[in-house]
Symmetry: C2
Subunit: 501 residues, 2 copies
């Protein structure tokens, strides 16, 4: 039987969950395939209702979900309550997007003469793709796990989902699954609409299964690469939407440091220690100007860091990895520890740690993601020093600029330089906390993600859809949204966008 | 020096083109990278003008381009004139899409209270990605080659392009490049906006080059897989948009066969022999009912096939491959030759060939794509026989149904069964001839393509774009399209689609 550990106490207990066998995994994929076939005929309105039923189910089991999750993650009830709210919000936002209908990209070109001769009637829209494998992440037991955004966006698109439970919160995963599964069953969804598997080997079997048509993954670069290798060895390669690693550089201009010294220090400390620093959007590297205002921010950060107690990590693998990485960043990476909090006490704890390095000493070895409450402060004099260091970093999900009230040219320069490789640029704020909305993009160049799509926000649904075009089709074969009579959703007709009547 | 062959005569001559060295390829990629940086500041209107200047350049050199191409491809002046028109049309259609602006997916969520607390201001749109490698295909020396759709869509997105010339039409590739390059230079585009390389090894070097951020490819499954292997070995994997192989099943219902016997035979013969059958959308397998009307269509097809002369193939590799494949389809594949045209005469010729097999004898070995004027007719009694055979085929770009005037239920059943794996479903028409328009989709499941995007039509631009979100950004860093003041393009604002003022 698999075990689960309470990281706040370090206590490990055996669960009644065992590794899913290869035969069981195949049967679950088969069931997902059958459910996908039977879901085809259902309307967008039906799917919106399904998502809302799942959100309602999560709310009805809030206390139990938060309690079980807290005992496996040590993230605290406040955070977990908020995160469970986010899981529900995501489901409801996709329900809204389904009803609105733009995501279908419904497009009609009527038959007619063109400069290239007669053109047939063409009608294109996006369709679901099939059973999607979703790998839960360790650090968001609700919002990026079984009840998370990949599940919501894949189901919203009309697909079915097979979840790979994260080993770090097995009981949370199972309970989340049971709640969603019961809600789906009560709503009338077929068995196989969502399924779950346990164990690393089962995950490998799942990704290789010919019925699986796409993979959503949030986790480490190494684990992501291992899955990519399995995908590359398949007879038919499938899309892998991975969110893998991110340093999230944050730049504080001299004017910003002077204007908002205390606020920046307070906000930055909160951001790099939020969730014990186990956020994919944690600012791992902060550029701070050399000089008195920069010193003042560093002093403030140092005092907060030194005064902080040990922070609970999600599991012992993250803990030992963090120790190794800290060794490398302070060793070959050349950074100095300027402040460290306590790491005493029971449980799997990390001491919050603030490191410092001069911009000219920054190397690729300093630019390693440390998953935990650790941040490297890079002291700079000139913009060129910042840009040189940024060029040594892998691409990130986010970059952040704290700027003064009157330096438009400087802000533009920094933005133009950072934008090309990241997914989101934050101004006078902090990258942790990712708004779930229509305009969000949670992505960035490799290795932060490997995709041109997002895993947060409405457009995440695009990952699990594909176009089909119908040429001169009789109405009877067309989905309602492509029939001449439909006026309920935005469509592009003969090149012009037409809003609902 | 590399050689070029006139397939209509079989005459081979030395060109003055040599294989691009690895150092030259790297320099061309570097130049593309520099040009990309310098293009960033240019407007959509500027890029629309660039595309139109390129289209004008192609028109100004029409006679020369068609003449050079005809001597390398044997496709004939009529076809090549039409195809050159299509290349221009594609460029102009993307110019139109640039001015319209929807393709940017500009989305704004204003700051405000949300069920999850305060939400920051978020503004997302799509941005260009960098230098794109485009591999020209053999069978469309204009529309899917140097002056083709991948080039047009990559440039439209604001990217730069490095072309890999197809070995089968080197002089056409170079001339097309010179025309486009001169038009771009005259328009004021920086050197490196488009570049070209020659030789298979140079293509491999290009795909491995760290400056290349995506690959557009139309060609064989084997060549595509070889490029995918190079991509998988890169430090940073990049998207590969490949269009690889397609059988394009076509079904003729008994009612259709009875209602339009002669028209179907005539159209089908034209479709499978168009361009000597060297179309990725050629119907490779046609299902024809057992019985007198099916026999009548087969007789008509046979007579047309037997009466046809040898058809010029693009090169000797296609010719020898076609001979091998025909051997396998008639050997292990079990199909019988029912009619074959002549293959006498000078040049690289194929005899148009019609094969037949009973549906119950159809196996995976019968389902091999034969790139040339070859079609397998499958005789059936029941729908189940068709579906069993289709299940043995790899996924295709298209599927086609010829149905009678009053069999809605049958049409729906066939459509529902074929739609899930193809990119385009054609009704009472033929799959060859792909309309270039807003609603087109030229794609399909592996191995027809490996992507959820199209390579024909306006949405092809999405392959070469990625989102960036700006959080609480000052106007000075925002592109014009994301500023509050912009009302010239469709945008989604706080969840609602807003059309231009």
């Amino acid at each position: 039987m698999l075990t689960t550990t309470d990281p706040a106490t370090g206590t490990t207990q055996e669960t009644d969950i065992r590794v899913t066998t290869a035969a069981e995994t195949a049967a679950i994929a088969e069931s997902a395939q059958r459910a996908f076939e039977s879901l085809r005929g259902n309307s967008r309105e039906w799917r919106a209702g399904l998502l809302e039923a799942m959100a309602d189910g999560l709310e009805a089991h809030r206390a139990e979900l938060v309690s079980v999750s807290n005992a496996e993650t040590g993230l605290g009830e406040g955070r977990l309550n908020g995160e469970l709210g986010r899981s529900q919000f995501q489901l409801r936002l996709f329900a809204e997007a389904l009803r609105e209908g733009s995501y279908l990209e419904a497009t009609i070109d009527h038959a007619g003469d063109t400069p290239l001769g007669h053109g047939p009637d063409l009608r294109r829209m996006l369709f679901p793709i099939g059973p999607v494998a979703v790998f839960g992440s360790s650090n968001f037991p609700f919002a990026f796990s079984v009840a998370g955004g990949d599940t919501a966006s894949a189901l919203a698109g009309g697909n079915t989902v097979v979840l790979k439970a994260h080993s770090s919160h097995l009981l949370t995963s199972r309970l989340s699954f049971e709640v969603l599964h019961a809600a789906a069953a009560a709503f009338g969804a077929p068995e196989g609409t969502i399924g779950i598997i346990f164990g690393t080997d089962a995950g490998r079997v799942l990704v290789a299964d010919p019925r699986i048509v796409a993979v959503g993954f949030t986790g480490s670069l190494g684990a992501g690469q291992a899955l990519l290798e399995i995908i590359n060895a398949r007879d038919a390669p499938i899309p892998f939407f991975g969110e893998l690693s991110s340093l999230n550089p944050l730049i504080i201009t001299p004017a910003a440091a002077a204007e908002r010294t205390a606020a920046i220090a307070e906000g930055l400390f909160g951001s790099f220690t939020l969730g014990s620093g186990q956020f994919c959007t944690k600012p791992g590297v902060a550029f701070l100007p050399i000089g008195p205002t920069g010193d003042a921010i560093l002093d403030d950060l140092s005092a907060r860091t030194a005064a902080a107690g040990g922070m609970v990590l999600l599991n012992s693998r993250i803990s030992s990895s963090l120790t190794s990485i800290l060794g490398r960043i302070t060793g070959e990476g050349g950074a100095r520890v300027v402040a460290a909090g306590s790491d005493g006490g029971p449980g799997i704890l990390a001491a919050p740690t603030l490191l410092e390095i001069d911009a000219d000493e920054f190397t690729a070895a300093t630019a390693e993601e440390a998953f935990g409450p650790v941040m490297v402060v890079v002291r700079f004099d000139t913009l060129d020093q910042i840009f040189r260091a940024v060029d040594l970093m892998p691409a990130s999900l986010t970059a952040t600029v704290h700027h003064g009230s009157n330096e438009p040219e400087l802000v533009r320069q920094i933005s133009d330089r950072l934008a090309p490789t990241v997914g989101r640029l934050v101004f006078n704020g902090f990258p942790t906390g990712v708004r779930v909305s229509w305009a969000q993009h949670h992505g960035g160049n490799w290795p932060s993600t490997n995709s041109q799509h997002t895993s947060v926000g409405v457009s995440a649904i695009r990952r699990f859809l594909r176009p089909i075009a119908f040429q001169d089709a009789p109405d009877v074969v067309l989905p309602e949204e492509l029939r001449e009579s439909c006026t309920s959703i935005p469509r592009r007709i003969d090149g012009s966008l037409v809003l609902p009547a």
